[in-house]
Structures are given as structure tokens and as C-alpha cells.
Symmetry: C2
Subunit: 557 residues, 2 copies
Amino acid sequence: MGFKSDIEIAQECTMAPVTEIAAKAGIEEKYLEQYGKYKAKIDYNLLKESDKKDGKLVLVTAINPTPAGEGKTTTTVGLADGLQKIGKNVMVALREPSLGPVFGVKGGAAGGGYAQVVPMEDINLHFTGDFHAIGAANNLLAAMLDNHIYQGNALNIDPRRITWRRCVDMNDRQLRFVVDGLGGRTNGMPREDGYDITVASEIMAVLCLASDITDLKARLSRVIVGYTYDQKPVTAGDLNAQGAMTALLKDALKPNLVQTLEHVPAIVHGGPFANIAHGCNSVIATKMAMKLGDYAITEAGFGADLGAEKFLDIKCRMAGLRPSAVVVVATVRALKHHGGVAKADLNNENLEALEKGLPNLLQHVDNMKNVYKLPCVVAINAFPTDTKAELDLVEAKCRELGVNVALSEVWAKGGEGGVKLAEEVVRLCEEPNDFSFSYELDGSIEEKLDTIVKRVYHGKGVVLTAAAKKQAKQLEELGYGDCPICMAKTQYSFSDDQKLLGAPKDFEVTVRNLKISAGAGFIVALTGEIMTMPGLPKVPAAEKIDVDESGKITGLF
Amino acid sequence: MGFKSDIEIAQECTMAPVTEIAAKAGIEEKYLEQYGKYKAKIDYNLLKESDKKDGKLVLVTAINPTPAGEGKTTTTVGLADGLQKIGKNVMVALREPSLGPVFGVKGGAAGGGYAQVVPMEDINLHFTGDFHAIGAANNLLAAMLDNHIYQGNALNIDPRRITWRRCVDMNDRQLRFVVDGLGGRTNGMPREDGYDITVASEIMAVLCLASDITDLKARLSRVIVGYTYDQKPVTAGDLNAQGAMTALLKDALKPNLVQTLEHVPAIVHGGPFANIAHGCNSVIATKMAMKLGDYAITEAGFGADLGAEKFLDIKCRMAGLRPSAVVVVATVRALKHHGGVAKADLNNENLEALEKGLPNLLQHVDNMKNVYKLPCVVAINAFPTDTKAELDLVEAKCRELGVNVALSEVWAKGGEGGVKLAEEVVRLCEEPNDFSFSYELDGSIEEKLDTIVKRVYHGKGVVLTAAAKKQAKQLEELGYGDCPICMAKTQYSFSDDQKLLGAPKDFEVTVRNLKISAGAGFIVALTGEIMTMPGLPKVPAAEKIDVDESGKITGLF
């Protein structure tokens, strides 16, 4: 039996005009800016001017994933559809996809099966132009920086210490390491340079953490682009770039409204990397979803050790958000993977391995309940290859240990398949909670890192290389000691070793590099090499994408 | 006395909702895709499905300009406003501005004074995202090309003969000459590379010449990206890139609807360079303006020797367009400049120099009437510094020589200042015309070049360097001999020497380089170095741009 592809399912959907979706969400016409018939931007002034009480915020996160991903976005969308099925006023808030994966390996990123946001082609291709605007702001800053050096370098910037890279929303390995400014005196100043994919630009993180346009401009002006010959930081504000950058971003700051296949209003806005940045949709999008819905369902990148940790410790802290419940997505496949099953065998029933993989899930649940003190439910995201015995086992084991659990069949059945999970989420949202952060901001950088490793990862503690120790000291001297930490670590393990599956113990996490993202307002702790510019595979997905004469797109997954 | 800045005038305008503008233009709702409240895209299917008779096409061009420009866009907009004043159903079709000049020296490009298109901030900043889409398509092709080489180079592409460059919509001299693919085996293949500004990308020319989405894809697939080790051309089609590129461009192909300050429907779409490309708005935009209006007013870049020549010989020929009249814009300042007055003295009355500069204008008018056989009128674009004696002299001299002439005061007075010109244009459009091209396609490349130099520039003939002669032979062997020619020449003179002002005689034009733009379908003839990536000035305009907390932009000119 063949399954329909995501794009086939998406294109079969009769979408409601975005004006209807807006009306359903209670957005007055004056706050709506249509982008075509099925997309719109929402004026952020609605946030200030509405007197509706904020809805409940629900975070969807996951166990440590396999490389295939565990369906967080699908579950997030399906949970929202399920809440609608049981009569709730719900909004979903997701990240925007990058063009890189669309043309590379992964394909689109707007949910899957019968739990998607639409129009999926548009959402995956340019959408409302936010990422291009971010790229333009990033590259304007780069051009102004190099122009400053070319025009006499009044700020005394050391071309060898420039940290600002150009960006493009594309998988283009050829641009990772370049030398630019070649061609002689009139063509710039030769220096080493390189490109990141746009989602890895600090501007993306800045946009996603900004509370309004004034905060956006202030953050942009604090962005560090490099250091002087005497090692002082140089900022975008020093180059007078923040005004023009804000002008480029003024529309990108407005959250985008679309819909799920079942016409639940969906906000899709922002998409920072989940390693060197915090991996969540924008603060404004999340607040807008809470302002409009009685339930706002959102997600965070990677597993809960990275995604939920940063969502809670960085985003919620900076934005003053208080979640009501957490959903931890698990799949039978990923649990078997954590139980030691090889990739080729993941589709075969294996109850023993499944049980052996459970501690990974349980430790994430434990973190949510006992570190962050939030009500939590496990959503088992059903795959067609799962057997009934496997699904029953996970459910039984969770119940045995007092863990809330619900089977989610949203990929195959849409909202109907999310009703059980929705009912559980509604119940949890009524529970009182004592939301806490995993660490406080007032310790030293090393202390904060150590707390994350011990409390969230359950390791022995952090180890800083000599270089990282020196960087920590410098950052504290520069006044950045009180910033939250943004961990850049493998998403496949609680540890910094992607091969340590399950719930490893007795490991140390080594931080090799500490960098300040002064605009975003966090310190990035790198535990290894992080790829900020992906490459295309041997046969890029782009080769299969086509458009017919009516403009209908095929080959997008 | 101070004048209001363009942005101040633009922001004082109470715009009509774009739905009202669309209704006024006779665009049914099903063809309209709103982008915010004051911008929209028009579905190109309207072109096929409407049964309205096409309106008259009027081209606005100019004498050889001074570096300040002679106000073609301003006159184009004001003429449309003037036609509305006298009760005509009119549409205007313009090019989209690039972000490069906005942040560099020139500022915005949406008309000036009381003859502008609005919302000017949006039109100048991202607009509906077309240029970013073009950049993404351009850079996807580049990434697929380098990835092909990295993954084994089955097509045998010579990395030293790659002609495809990356692009960004920014003035960034640092990127003119780069070496990329550095960093070792996993990071690409080191080679020389470089960036153009997006408007100089062949994709821009392709989009602007495409008649529909099928033609767009066919043109993209013909784009040449480089040559093999045995010197065979390699195309985007060879890389299977045309489908994904078309998918990226499917919305960019739809023309954008905005309005003039006086609420005349305006289409602003596409903006190819006027040197290495043909410098006009898109074919689809022009056809749409003719389909909707009884009069469609459009413009072409630079002076008439370049802009009108390419508009008529390339765009009208490819698209089967037939203009009804031509407006040649002249200013008192530019005429004095052609009469030998130095820049510093251009604001002082000088009747003698003015008369001495007239032959430049008259030769352009003569070309329109006697080469292209089109009715023609001179529009004197009045500046605040012009004296009455000067304005009177130009008008009297034109009349004396039987040249139609009208004073245009649209910069200061809007449509009211364009009524005289509008009346003259209406009259000319009723005249029969015998529109002809300046050259036919069936001669050799050198013959066509020679014809342009003799008939349009009034020089002695063309000279090809040895390299250009060899290139002409190669292009003819490859089957490109029948393509029209796209001249890349200084815009300041009829000749290839920017210092030869007025109507020079006895000069030869030297073509140094011939390149095929196989997707656009023309041969670019370069007469000197053409800068395809501008730089920022000492104090970029970007430093003065700002946004307040309500999102209102200041400092954009």
C-alpha cells in the first residue's frame, strides 16, 4: 500500500481564506495584512491593544531523536487540531522552514501526513519573505562593516578578528570558507570570511527574542561584529547600522498567520538554529498565539535536553512566559534506537529493546516535572510500522511509573487522532504548577554550565578547556556574565557524545568554546564543531521539484 | 525656502486600499493577491482571460543624462497622473528599485516630488520579495553547480570557466572578487568566484522577458553557467535546476500593483540592469498595463540610445509589443551640461550653453521618428532652478524645428503639472505609425553591432577587438548568431566615451567582449568595464535610515 506524500495531502485541502481564519482567531481586520489569499501578517499592536486574557501555553518537545526526527511539528499541529475537535479555542505557533533543507535532503518542514500547516508550498518557499529580510539585514551589516574598513577604518577594527559572517538561506558548502576583498585596492580589503545559512545568523535569534520594534533596534545595536586591534568589541551600533537593519526587519517582525489542514489558525514565525541559537519560534508569535487562543501550542527544536531547556531557560525567562503543560513526544522507533537497535532494524518489532530505551524518555519527563516543575504528558507519535504490542507496552510502562501518556495518531488521522492527547493536555493545564528555571542567572558562567549538565543532562559536571576558561573570564569582564547560556551540543544524546544513547550516567560535558551573542543576549557554549552552513547531497531534492504551467508545484516533500 | 523630501510627501499621502485601486483598474478579485493593505500581486492568468482590447503603449525615455538623472520615472508617473486628470483610463508600469542604491548613495527610486508611486518605503525595501526570490534562484543554481563539481563533476565542468556568479541585493564591493571552496576536502573545491548585485543577474533579465511560467522555465533551462574542459556550454538544464528555480520564481513572475500619489494604478515589476541587460520592467507587467488601461505608460533605463533602443529592439521584438508614442525627457540642466557647462554651474542661467546642448536632444528625437518611425514628444522636466527664459528657449527651439514639446511640472505639481504633456501624448497616440526595429536579426553579430552604431549612435561604425571577433565567431558557431544585441555602454554619451557630449560625430565604438545571455536570449556587447557590484560610499545612506516604535521609517530619500 502506498501512502500519499505530504504535498499531495496538502494540495487536496480546501483552504479557508486567511480572512476567515483571522476572523475565527478574533483578529480584527485592521490588524491583518494579507499576503496572497492564504497567508497574512498580524500587526503586533494587537498584543498591546487587546484586552483578552492570555491563553494557556503548552510546549511540545521530544526525547532525544533519531536522525529521522520524531514528529514534534506533526504532533504540535495534530494536538491543536485535536483541541479544536473537543471544542477548544486554540492557536498553534511554529517555526518557519529554511530553504536549505527544502532543496537539500530533508524536504519541507510544516508537519506531516494529516497534521500539516498549509499552504505548505508557500510556507516552504519564501513564505512572507522573513528569512530574506533577515539575510538582507545580516548582509547589510557585513557590507557596512567592510565598507568602514575600506573607507579608513576609523574604529580600528582588526580584519583578522571579525566575527560577523555573511549569510544566505541556502545549503552551499562552497561558501563555508572564503577569502573576499580580492582584486586590488578599489575592491575592498582581502580577509578570511565565510557564510552561514540564514537561520544560523544572530539576526534570526534577535528577531525571535525581540519584544517589539524598539527592543529589536536596541538588540541589533548591541550585536558584536568583531574586535579592534586592542581587543575591544565593535557593535552594529558603532557602525550606525541598527536603524537601517530595523527598517529591513520591520515587517519580518510581524507574525505570519496560516492554517492547519483542519483550519485551526496557525502562526508560523521565525526559526533560529537549535544549537548556536535557542531553536523556538518568535516571542511575539508565542505571545500572539496566547493572546488569541485559550490554548497556545508551540514547539522547540531537537530533544527536551536542548529544545525545552532553551525554551524554558532562555525564551520564557526573557519574555516572562509561563507554560501550563509540556508534551514530550516519543516514537516506538526512537525508543528502540535508544534500546540499541540498528537503523536497518527499527521497523521490526522488538519489545525488549523498546523497554530498554524507555529511560531516555523517563529522564526527560522527570526533568519537566521535577526540575522545571511543570505538568507533563508523553505523546506516543504512532508510525505505520509500530505494532500494537509495542504501542501497548510503552503505554503500560508509562502508566506503571505514574507517567501521563496518550497515543497520538495525528499523522494518519489528523485532529481525530489527537483527541486523547488533547483531553490529557486540557486536564494538565488545570493543574497548578510551580514553574522554575534550571539555573539562575547570577552564578558564574562555569557554575551555570555545571548546573545545566548536572540537573538537565544528569552528567557529573562540566569541563571547560583552557581556551573556554579564558573566554569565560573575558566575557565576565566585558559584563556578559549574567546572560543565560545557549548550549550547542549533539541532539542525539543527553551527553556531548552522540553515541551515548538512553539515559547515560557518569559523563562529563566538555565546553570548548564560549561566544557571546550580545544582541540575542545569551552566551553560546559549544561542545564540539557545529556546522552552520550545510551542503547539498549527491542528488539534491531541488532536482525533483517542478512547477506546471498553472503554477502548481510538485516534488516538494 | 526648503522643499519637502520625497518620503515626507509620500507619507502625507492618504493611500487608497489596494483593493480599491484594483477595482478601479478593472481587476477582478480572483486575480488579486494582497500583500499588506497597499500592495498586491496580479495573477498573470488575467492576461489570457480578459477580452478587453489592449491599450496604447507609451514609452518614456530621455536624453543622455547627467549623473543626477533627468527624472524619467518622475515624468512617467506624472504623465500618468496627467492622463487621469484629463479623464483617461491609464496604468503606469515601472521598474522595481534595488536595495543597493537605497543604502548607498542614490536613495529610493519610485519617482520624486509630487509624482511618486506609494507606499514608497515598501517599494524601496523588499517590496513583495521579488528581488530576494531572484537572488535565491540565482544562488540555488550556483550551489547546485558547485555541488555538482564537488560530488564528482560528471558533466566535466572546468572550474576555471564558470561564468555563473552568486548575487545579493546589496552594494558590497568586498564580494566582487573572492576565492571560495576553501577549508579542505569536505568544504567544496577552491576556485575564483564573485558576486553581482541581484539586478545584474541574468535571472532578472529572464524573469522580465518571460511571457509565462512555461517560457520562464524554458529560458531558465537555457541559462549557461560555464563551460566544460572541452569548451562545451553547460546549462542550468544540464544541472536539473530549472524546476526548483521556477518554483522559487513563480510568485515573483506576478506583477505588483501599487498606486501613484494621485491613486493611478501602477504596476512596479522587475528591474534588470540597463547595461548588461535591457533595463525595462517585465514584459508581463507591460502587457498587464496595456490589458487594463487604455493608456499604458512605461519607461526604460538610461538615455534613449541605450534604454529606448533595447526597449524597442529587444523587449518589443521578443514580446510582440507595438508602442504608440515616445516621450523624450530633457532637463535644462542636462542640456546645459551637453552644452559644456561644468557641474558646479548647472544651476546658473546660461542660454548659450543651453542652445549648444540641444543637438543631443534633437538626435534622440530624430532616432525615434526616423529610425523607429514612432510619434515623439519632448517633455521638459522643470526643475526649481530653471529660469523662465531657459524654459522658453527650449520650447521655442523645438517648435522652430518642428519637434513636439511640452513643459512637464509634475515634480512640483503632480498630475496638474502633467496635463499639457498628457494632451500631447493623447494626440500622438492617434497618429498612425510604422514602427520598425533599428536592425534585423538575420545579419552577422558584427553587422548588427555596426548597424546600431551607425543608425542609433550616429558613429562611423563598430570596431571589434581581436578577442571580441573570436567570441562573435564562437557564438555564431554555437547557434546564437540570430540573437538581438544588448549594448553595455556608457549612458552619458552617444559614443563609448563618456566625455563626448552633445551629438558627437566621426567616432567608432569599440566592442571588447561579447557574452551570450542564453536564458534572456541576447548577446551582451561590452564596450568597456561594467561594474556589476557597486560599493557603498564613505557615509552610506543606510546610516541615516531609522524606524520609530510605530514602524514609521525616516531618512529614506
